[in-house]
């Protein structure tokens, strides 16, 4: 019986496994790839670690810090190991089944931390039609091909979606010799961090076409051109504005979705705003002993925050394994209102000294105040001069400020 089993060896899983092990728990970490680091292995650009390490690190370097640390701890690490089932046992512990090159791994654990990351929305999910040609890639896929294997999608690229990955790939492709004809964004405002608009597009003179989307792919065998059109306020293409842009590759970066496949067969309550499971500030889901952290709980933009939240989840999982069977003493719900895309956690466990909140505004706002109230009393207030959906905000409050009998109203 393992105390804490961590699924995923990316930034979420690494931070959780390190903190659980440091808290004295026996830890096993399973990752489906050949090396630790998760998605960071292919995020070779810098900008990671500004908050946590006060340095501008590349993705692999950020991961290396945790990898160096975990190798010094007694964590049982299994690579090329794919977890395909997690089930709850009668005594409240978990059975985890995984496939590895050594055979089926069948282990029991007192607590499980799911850090399985996220996947990308595909071109078909944003209604790109036209000819079925090769040369259309999701941004994550082409990032892998370019950065880890050294292959290009083509030499004249269009990018759909101004999310961070799309912006980063615009720069990467330019630095590797391609011409990026433009980044197309269906919304009227960009989806990525402002910093990335400057350093990936402005720096290289790559045009950003807001309110414009790709509707069709054109070609005989491989991509030869795309059809683009302006969009209306509902992000639907206005067909009369269609025009053809000649390109040999299309990179699609249209959103990330938490990967929660493993939780499907468990009685896990899902959060319709984050698209991950409902979690409290310790990362515990509605299934006692099952924790979720990193991009599989909600989509972050700074890996530094992933590490922060995942450390908490790891510590909490270790504590859970030690003091088994203790359900949440008191839990308070968090009710969002106003232009909040989401606020996490949506549940607060009073049996903890502090709560760290993460939230995103649903539109660009200026001079707004985030207020936490209980039963009409204001507990927390902060005014933000600028709020943008791509930039997640965070703050922490002490649990002793909270009244255990009333829900928290979070309004913006």
């Amino acid at each position: 019986m393992i105390d804490v089993l961590v699924i995923g060896g990316g930034p979420g899983g690494l931070a959780a496994a390190v903190s659980a092990s440091k808290a004295g728990a026996s830890v096993m970490l399973l990752d489906r790839e050949h090396a630790l680091g998760g998605i960071l292995k292919q995020c070779i650009h810098d900008g990671f670690g500004l908050q946590r390490f006060h340095k501008q690190l590349s993705g692999p370097s950020y991961a290396q810090a945790f990898i160096d640390e975990i190798l010094l701890l007694p964590v049982d690490i299994r690579l090329d190991c794919f977890v395909f089932e997690v089930s709850c046992l009668e005594d409240g512990s978990f059975r985890v089944l995984a496939s590895s090159r050594d055979g089926i791994i069948d282990v029991n654990a007192l607590a499980v931390v799911s850090a399985t990351g996220c996947r990308e929305r595909t071109a078909r999910q944003v209604s790109i039609h036209g000819d079925r040609v090769s040369g259309v890639f999701n941004a994550g896929c082409i990032q892998n091909l370019v950065n880890l294997h050294g292959y290009m999608p083509g030499q004249r690229c269009a990018i759909l979606g101004s999310g961070d990955i799309g912006l980063i790939m615009a720069r990467r492709l330019t630095l590797e010799g391609a011409e990026v004809v433009g980044v197309f964004e269906a919304k009227k405002t960009p989806s990525g961090l402002e910093r990335n608009i400057h350093q990936c597009l402005d720096d290289f003179g790559i045009p950003l076409h807001l309110g414009c989307t790709v509707t069709r792919t054109i070609g005989h065998r491989r991509l030869e051109a795309v059809e683009v059109a302006d969009t209306d306020d509902a992000m639907n293409p206005i067909l009369s504005t269609s025009r053809i842009v000649s390109v040999d590759s299309l990179i699609v970066s249209v959103g990330l979705i938490p990967e929660v496949e493993l939780l499907k067969n468990l009685p896990v309550k899902m959060d319709s705003r984050t698209h991950g499971p409902v979690i409290d500030q310790k990362g515990m889901t509605s299934v006692p002993g099952l924790f979720c952290c990193g991009n599989s709980s909600l989509v972050y933009d700074l890996v530094d925050y992933v590490s922060l939240a995942s450390e908490t989840a790891g510590q909490s999982a270790a504590k859970w394994a030690k003091n088994r069977g203790l359900a949440r003493k008191t839990e308070i719900q968090v009710h969002p209102s106003g232009p909040l895309l989401f606020i996490s956690p949506s549940l607060i466990d009073m049996d903890s000294s502090s709560v760290r909140f993460f939230f995103r505004a649903s539109e660009e706002l200026e001079g707004r105040t985030l207020t936490l109230c209980q039963n009409g009393h204001e507990i927390f207030k902060r005014t933000y001069s600028v709020l943008r959906p791509p930039q997640m905000e965070t703050f922490e409050i002490r649990t002793e400020l909270l009244d255990p009998d009333h829900a928290v109203e979070a309004s913006l």
Partner: protein
């Protein structure tokens, strides 16, 4: 209707269009203003119930694109000779090749695409139709009902998944109940087994996702489902196991006939000598017939689009739900349905649109919207956000809307298996039996050779491993015997490296990312290959001993160029 009545009606559509009979077939010629009018003329001409319609009308609004030819041009097949050359490796061509390969015949299959089942055979819902919506007198009905029965045995022997789960034809109006006796009558005439009526109350209990206003349904137990490409691959691999040769990227450019027999097949890879030829060329089967001077039918392609929904939408139905076919006026326009595939995804569609482009596989947002709207009425829980992907295909329709399975009257050693549209998948095994019998007769009549099934014919095929469906103990043992089966490459569908290598080492390997996808489901899940394609391309490059850059995904190369190779 007679010829002069037809000519009057044709003239009304477009002045100058005229029809005449030649060798039993109706020929129509002239200029129309639109392609839609060309099709209308053809449909009218079919009402003469002649041998076939040869539609030579032209139109001013659209032009047919030339056939997409393979890029290779060499003499690698020049001078080869075979007893039978099968043109087309769709499900019909592969089923025929399989049947013939069991005999004492040398068989070659020529396919212009890079794999079997690239066109219509992989772009359908995989339904093994009961045949209730077919006309008793048609050839397709004959082949459908016989083929339907053959799938149980074939799937077991050849190791592909076939689920005979039955289907519902849902009534949406009370007057539809009056058609129940008609269903039973049709069932009897078409040899459809086990048809029975289900009351609306019982249907509500059996299928919770069907709309509350449903008025009952007919249950057709002989209905089943396969993964169409896997069935085609199974037929093709069995043919290959029995020494049939498959030549991909090989297009037939011409047929040379000598003394009333096809003697040579001209391809982009040289000239092949053939003792007999089978025309299973799908949307181009009328062109092949024309090359043998045996043009008595015309293909008018009809495009259909289908969409695949997330497996989570799979709770929608265990069986097929289709709207009553009789409330659609034209019986050849499929009602389409909501189908749960053999792999658990939900398929919605297809629709039907006439098109002049024979290889048009493009999709449009309008057809997606229309299809969803049409089926939302029967299954209200359908939602656009569940869509994983969509695809289109072109049906090879003759104007008679029936199959052309017969020996040629112009070339004594040519057999047509042409104009196969739905229910082509269901009918394929039965068509193969008939064509093989025609070939037997050709060899005994013309070449005085006795053809029989060989005693050493391989009649079974081992099903490929699917680790995600194996019991734990068995899966563990397999991994210990070969660790590649423990390394998961496609995480959405849980496909292992071992399974990918297995399909690349089959008796008919195709080194293409989409071919691998069709065979072992790698890349068919939610992420549509975003995570696994780089690995799959790498495995293909290793197995095929080729460069990563030459690996193709479907019709074109996967990656293009290396980093730091070019500068703007």
């Amino acid at each position: 209707m007679n010829l002069s009545a037809l000519n009057r009606k044709l003239d009304a559509i477009s002045p100058g269009i005229h029809a005449f009979i030649d060798d039993g077939a109706v020929h129509i010629e002239g200029q129309c203003s639109s392609y839609d009018d060309v099709v209308r003329c053809g449909i009218l001409a079919a009402r003469l119930h002649s041998r076939g319609v040869v539609n030579d009308c032209t139109c001013a609004d659209v032009k047919e694109e030339p056939m997409r030819l393979p890029e290779t041009q060499d003499l690698s097949l020049d001078g080869r000779s075979f007893d039978v050359v099968v043109i087309g490796a769709g499900v019909v061509g592969c089923a025929i090749a399989m049947e013939l390969s069991h005999r004492n015949l040398s068989v070659a299959v020529l396919e212009k695409e890079y794999d079997v089942a690239v066109r219509a055979s992989s772009r359908n819902d995989g339904m093994i139709h009961p045949g209730i919506d077919l006309h008793p007198g048609q050839r397709k009905t004959y082949f459908n009902c016989r083929g339907n029965r053959m799938y149980t045995d074939l799937s077991q022997r050849l190791g592909f998944k076939f689920i005979r789960n039955g289907s519902y034809v849902v009534f949406d109006r009370w007057w539809n109940l009056l058609t129940v006796p008609f269903f039973h009558l049709r069932a009897a005439m078409c040899h459809v087994d086990g048809v029975r009526y289900v009351t609306h109350r019982k249907l509500g209990r059996l299928q919770t996702s069907v709309a509350s206003w449903q008025k009952g349904a007919m249950f057709l137990p002989s209905s089943g489902i396969v993964e169409p490409y896997q069935a085609t691959v199974a037929f093709a691999e069995n043919a290959a196991d029995n020494k049939a040769s498959f030549f991909f990227d090989t297009a037939v450019l011409d047929l040379i006939c000598t003394d009333g027999l096809v003697s040579q097949v001209i391809t982009n890879r040289g000239t092949i000598h053939a003792l007999s030829v089978v025309n299973a060329a799908g949307v181009y089967s009328d062109r092949i017939a024309a090359l043998a001077n045996d043009r008595f039918f015309t293909i008018h392609p009809r495009k259909g689009t289908e969409m695949i929904l997330d497996k989570d939408a799979g709770s929608i139905t265990e069986s097929v739900i289709a709207k009553v076919p009789f409330s659609d006026v034209k019986q050849h326009t499929k009602g389409g349905g909501v189908v749960r595939t053999a792999s658990g995804n939900i398929l919605v569609g297809p629709d039907a649109h006439e098109t002049i482009q024979r290889e048009d596989d493009s999709t449009s947002s309008q057809s997606i919207t229309d299809i969803l709207a049409k089926h939302k009425a029967t299954v209200p829980s359908l939602d656009k956000r569940q869509i994983i992907t969509y695809f289109s295909g072109t049906r090879a329709c003759t104007y008679e809307e029936d199959f052309v399975v017969e020996r040629s009257t112009k070339a004594g050693n040519l057999v047509h298996a042409a104009g196969i549209q739905s229910p082509g998948l269901t009918a394929a095994p039965a068509i193969a039996v008939e064509v093989a019998s025609d070939i037997d007769n050709i060899f005994s009549d013309i070449y005085k050779r006795s053809i029989k099934v060989r005693s050493d014919a391989i009649l079974t095929r081992k099903a490929p491993h699917v680790v995600s469906e194996m019991p734990l103990q068995q899966r563990d043992e397999l991994i210990r015997s070969n660790p590649d089966y423990g390394q998961i490459v496609c995480r959405c569908e849980q496909v292992s490296r071992g399974e990918i290598i297995e399909v690349l080492r089959s008796s008919l390997p195709v080194y293409n990312i989409d071919a691998v996808k069709r065979r072992c489901r790698c890349g068919m899940g939610r992420c549509q290959g975003s995570f696994c394609s780089p690995s799959v391309a790498g495995i293909i490059a290793e197995e095929a001993h080729c460069s990563f850059e030459s690996v193709c995904k479907g019709l074109g190369v996967f990656v293009k160029g290396k980093v730091k190779e070019t500068s703007r």
